[in-house]
Symmetry: C2
DNA sequence: CTGATACCCTACCGCTGAGGTAGGCTTTAA
DNA sequence: TTAAAGCCTACCTCAGCGGTAGGGTATCAG
């Protein structure tokens, strides 16, 4: 297993929100029950989604969460990264904010990392797939409530 | 981080073996020193590689390990799978030996897993990348010993 | 104004697996 | 026969995952 349940649960929450149309906020307790997941734990995950600007919250009675954007405008790369942190297939490969790929074992300039090309490819494949998949694609064809009433 | 250092270290061992030409067995202690990795730990990893049929061993004095096949005939998918176990981006997605992708949350037939398509895509992207990359591609251009004397 | 509702935040906790160590046994070349 | 190497089992430590607890705060209904 490579991603934790943080990604699994968090994506489920996003899909659930998308499926409900987004007209009015949805209480997290409702989603927790629908998905069969622990509410207290989901609160941690949805907090990450909120900080990443992927969902918005309404506090107080009749509060809940809403998607911050149209499902088609939300990529899974954003969602997964918000939940799991920066995507790297192994610890030694991390992309800096400027996009350069570095390897911790390359501190010795004479000893270039022979496996870097492999992990760079794997990372690119994962990121590309996550970027190409939008939330809109994951909304099931048979919604619980009508998408547009 | 998605793969553990098992994959990282194990791939390094394979590259090191490939780089030495494969004429005679290489002691694991030699590789451990060259890569700066703990010998006792590498022994566990190379045992997995051997059980998977990727390396062969010669016991006794002047013993060591050899690649079981030509580097071009060894894919990174085999290597990584031998070290990490079956490749799955998250726990709920596992491919059975027959190739079907199942989801643990689909036990209830009415509740199909909406996120399955995402994780299936991610898994496919990873596996394809690992299959396309062979050990031969990771051998550095400047070998310590001549590749073909 | 007073609950009730639901988000928000911090702290904690058990357990698993990663990463590594230790030590003894077996095989083989010199 | 001895040293070099692989082989095997057991063990250890620790971070982080998955989850719980509980109090605080904003908001709405009546």
């Amino acid at each position: 297993m490579m991603f934790s349940t943080k990604a699994e649960y968090g994506v489920r929450v996003m899909v659930d929100l998308a499926r409900r149309g987004g007209a009015e906020p949805v209480a997290l307790a409702e989603i927790a029950e629908a998905e069969g997941l622990p509410l207290a734990y989901l609160e941690h995950l949805v907090a990450r989604l909120r900080r990443a600007g992927l969902v918005e919250s309404r506090r107080g009675a009749h509060g809940g969460y809403l998607l911050a954007r149209e499902p088609a405008q939300i990529t899974m790369a954003e969602v997964v990264e918000a939940l799991e942190g920066r995507i790297a297939p192994i610890e030694c490969i991390s992309s800096s904010p400027d996009g350069t790929i570095s390897c911790v074992r390359e501190s010795d300039p004479a000893h270039i990392c022979t496996t870097k090309v492999l992990w760079t490819r794997v990372r690119a494949a994962i990121v590309q797939t996550l970027q190409e998949t939008t939330l809109a694609e994951l909304i099931p064809a048979t919604p619980k409530k009508a998408v547009a009433a």
